[in-house]
C-alpha cells in the first residue's frame, strides 16, 4: 500500500471542543494558527493565554494551555500580572477583539505596549462588536452600517476607525508590530508567519499582531462575500504590513534621550 503522510491536522494545542463561532467566522482560523505556532515551538507547557470578553470569550475552552478569562478590555493588564509573576521562560499571549482592545481597553493596550511588556497581543479586527449583536466598534469603517450606526458610521459624529498598529508604532518599546488577515490562503499562511515571529520575539519585548477577520453575521453577508468585502473595504483602510520588526526599527522607536544614569543613593 503506498504510504500516505498526514500533512494537515488539528493542532494538539487545540482542545477537541467544537467552536461556538458563527458559520464562516474566521476567529477559528486565528485560533488554529496560534495553536500551531505554540505546538511547533513546543511551548504548550510554558504558555499562558488570556482571553477577552467578546465573541472569543469562550476561547479558554479551545486553547489547551493554562489560560485566564479577563474582564472586558483588561487582558493586557491581566497578562502583565501574569508576565511579572511567572518565570522568564513562560510565554504569555492575549487574544482580543476590536471592541475589547481598541475601545474599553485602549488604556491597557497602550500602556502595556509602552511598558514593553514581554507578551504577544493577538488583535482580531472585524470592525464590529460581534458577541453583543453587531454594534459599531472603534474600527467600524466610515459609512458602515451596524446596529448602533444604522445610517452608516458618521465620521462627523464618531470619528474615523482607529489604526492600532500605526498608533502603537509611535511608541518606543514595542519590538514587533504587524497587521495581517485570516481570510484567503495567502493571507492565512502569511498571518501564521507573523504570529510565529511575534511569539519568537516575545522574550525580547512587546509584540503585537493585528489580524483582519470577518463577521458574516454582524456584517449581514455570506461567509464568502464577507471575505471579499474585507478585501475591498477593510484592507485599503487597514494596510497589511509589518510596521516594526527588529531588523527595521523605524525612527519612532529610536530612543530619544540616552538612558539617564540616576545616581542610586539607596545603595548606602
Amino acid at each position: 500500500m503506498s504510504e500516505e503522510q498526514l500533512i494537515f491536522k488539528r493542532s494538539k494545542a487545540l482542545t477537541d471542543a467544537y467552536f461556538h463561532y458563527c458559520p464562516g467566522c474566521t476567529h477559528g482560523i486565528a485560533h488554529r494558527l496560534i495553536a500551531e505556532v505554540i505546538e511547533e515551538m513546543d511551548i504548550q507547557d510554558k504558555t499562558i493565554g488570556v482571553c477577552p470578553v467578546g465573541c472569543s470569550v469562550l476561547a479558554y475552552n479551545y486553547f489547551d494551555v493554562d489560560i485566564h478569562e479577563a474582564s472586558h478590555g483588561r487582558a493586557p493588564a491581566v497578562a502583565t500580572g501574569i508576565r511579572r509573576t511567572l518565570p522568564q521562560d513562560r510565554y504569555v499571549f492575549t487574544y482580543q477583539g476590536d471592541g475589547d482592545l481598541a475601545s474599553i481597553g485602549m488604556a491597557e493596550i497602550v500602556h502595556a505596549a509602552n511598558r514593553g511588556e514581554k507578551i504577544t497581543v493577538v488583535f482580531i479586527n472585524n470592525a464590529i462588536y460581534g458577541m453583543t449583536g453587531g454594534q459599531m466598534a472603534p474600527t467600524t469603517l466610515p459609512g458602515m452600517r451596524t446596529t448602533t450606526s444604522p445610517y452608516g458610521r458618521d465620521t462627523a459624529l464618531c470619528g474615523h476607525p482607529i489604526r492600532m498598529c500605526e498608533l502603537l508604532n509611535t511608541l518606543v518599546e514595542p519590538v514587533f508590530v504587524a497587521r495581517g488577515a485570516v481570510t484567503t490562503p495567502k493571507y492565512i499562511n502569511r498571518a501564521k508567519k507573523l504570529l510565529r515571529q511575534a511569539f519568537e520575539l516575545q522574550h525580547t519585548g512587546f509584540t503585537f499582531v493585528e489580524l483582519l477577520s470577518t463577521c458574516p453575521t454582524g456584517w449581514g453577508l455570506t461567509p464568502e462575500n464577507s471575505v471579499a468585502w474585507l478585501e475591498r473595504n477593510m484592507v485599503p483602510f487597514f494596510p497589511l504590513s509589518v510596521f516594526r520588526e527588529p531588523a527595521a526599527m523605524p525612527a519612532a522607536a529610536t530612543k530619544y534621550a540616552p538612558d539617564l544614569k540616576v545616581k542610586d543613593d539607596a545603595k548606602a
Binding site: D45, V65, I67, H68, R90, A107, V110, H111
Partner: protein
C-alpha cells in the same frame, strides 16, 4: 532591620512592610492620597527583595493586574483609597468569582465624589456589601492602630490563601498617615498549595482555567452556592472584635471601629471618671460582622451609640443584631471631619435625658 525591634513607622509604610514580611512580592497600584506611601514604599523595597512593583495606568488596570498575578498562585496586593477602590470594584468581583487570593488595602478618604483627602469611614458599606457586582463576600479587616494594621496584613494574606478569596484591609487616612511604634510578627510565612494556578500546563494535567464565566445558569448557581459555603465558613470562624470596659455590663455601649474606636476609648475613660458606666464594642472584622459577640452584650445594655466618621453605615449592622430590643443612637460626622472626644461626651450626656 531586626524584626524584634520596635520601629516608629507611618501606617502606610508599616502596612507595606508587613505585606513584604507576609511573603508578598508583587504589588500593583496607582497614586492616590492618602495612601501614596504604600506604592512609594513598595517601589523602593520590592526590588530589594526580588519583588515587582508596578504602577498601573489606572486603578481599573491595577485591579486586573492583581487578578492576573494572583492567578499565577503568588501572594499579590494592591492598595488605594475610596475613589480608586470604586474603580477596582469590577476587578474585585472577578477575584471573588474566580476564587483568586489577593489583599486589597483601602485607606478611606472623604466622599462622595472627589470628596477630600481627610480620613473617613464612608466606604464601610461599599467594602462590606457593595464592592463589585453579584452575590459575593470578602473578609474585611478594620485596624484601629498601626500595630494592628501590621498584624491584620499578615492575617489578610493567610485568610486570602486559606479561603481562595480576596481580603480587604480597611483603614482610613489617619491610620495611614500617623506614626506609631510597631514590631513585625516573627511567624514564618505559611505556604498554601495552589494546584489551580495557571503556571503553564505540563502534559500530566489538564489545563487550568482562571475564569468566572458560567453561561449555563444552573452551573453558575452551583458555583455561587459553592462560594457561599466558603462565606458561611468565614461567618462561623472569622468573626473578630474587641471590647473595652464592658466587664461590668455598663448600660451605655458605644459601637465604633478603626480610628473612631480610639477616640471613643478616650471619651469612655473621661466619662468613667465622672461616674458614667459606659464601654466600647469594636468590630475588627467589618465582615463577617461580629454578630455573636454583639448579641451577647444586648441583654445588659440600655442604649447603643454608634459613632462613625460617616453618616452612619456600620450602624445598620448593629441594628440588624440589636433589632428593636434596644435603642441604637447615632453620632457621626462625614466629609473627613473627625468627631472629637468632647463631642462624644456631649452625645452620651444627651442620651441620659
Amino acid at each position: 532591620m531586626a524584626t524584634a525591634q520596635r520601629l516608629l513607622m507611618k501606617g502606610t509604610e508599616a502596612i507595606a512592610e508587613a505585606a513584604i514580611r507576609a511573603g508578598c512580592r508583587h504589588f500593583f497600584g496607582y497614586p492616590i492620597t492618602p495612601q501614596n506611601e504604600i506604592p512609594e514604599y513598595m517601589s523602593k523595597r520590592l526590588p530589594q527583595v526580588g519583588g515587582v512593583y508596578l504602577q498601573a495606568e489606572s486603578e481599573v488596570s491595577a485591579s486586573n493586574m492583581l487578578y492576573g498575578a494572583g492567578g499565577s498562585g503568588v501572594r499579590v496586593m494592591t492598595s488605594s483609597s475610596s475613589p480608586g477602590i470604586a474603580l477596582m470594584a469590577e476587578g474585585f468581583s472577578y477575584l471573588c468569582g474566580s476564587e483568586i487570593p489577593a489583599v486589597v488595602v483601602n485607606i478611606m478618604r472623604g466622599g462622595p465624589g472627589l470628596g477630600d483627602i481627610q480620613p473617613s469611614q464612608g466606604d464601610y458599606a461599599m467594602c462590606t456589601k457593595g464592592f463589585g457586582h453579584g452575590d459575593k463576600h470578602a473578609i474585611v479587616l478594620a485596624p484601629s492602630t498601626v500595630q494592628e494594621a501590621v498584624d491584620l496584613m499578615a492575617l489578610a494574606f493567610d485568610l486570602a490563601d486559606q479561603y481562595r478569596n480576596p481580603c480587604v484591609v480597611m483603614g482610613d487616612g489617619l491610620i495611614g498617615q500617623m506614626m506609631e511604634p510597631v514590631t513585625f510578627p516573627e511567624a514564618p510565612v505559611k505556604v498554601y498549595d495552589k494546584p489551580w494556578a495557571a503556571t503553564g500546563k505540563p502534559p500530566t494535567r489538564k489545563h487550568n482555567i482562571i475564569n468566572s464565566l458560567y453561561l449555563d445558569p444552573e452551573e453558575l448557581e452551583r458555583h455561587v452556592y459553592h462560594l457561599f459555603e466558603k462565606y458561611e465558613r468565614m461567618r462561623a470562624d472569622e468573626q473578630r472584635h474587641e471590647t473595652f470596659m464592658l466587664d461590668d455590663a455598663p448600660p451605655v455601649v458605644i459601637c465604633a471601629y478603626g480610628t473612631m474606636a480610639r477616640i471613643a476609648k478616650t471619651a469612655i475613660r473621661e466619662l468613667r471618671k465622672t461616674g458614667v458606666k459606659i464601654g466600647l464594642f469594636r468590630p475588627i472584622t467589618a465582615w463577617p460582622f461580629p454578630v455573636e459577640a454583639l448579641s451577647g452584650v444586648v441583654q445588659s445594655t440600655k442604649v447603643f451609640l454608634a459613632v462613625e466618621m460617616s453618616m452612619g453605615q456600620m450602624i445598620e449592622d448593629v441594628r440588624m443584631v440589636v433589632g428593636r430590643d434596644r435603642p441604637v443612637k447615632f453620632f457621626g460626622r462625614p466629609g473627613g471631619v473627625i468627631p472629637t472626644v468632647e463631642e462624644i461626651i456631649h452625645q452620651v450626656k444627651l442620651l441620659s435625658n
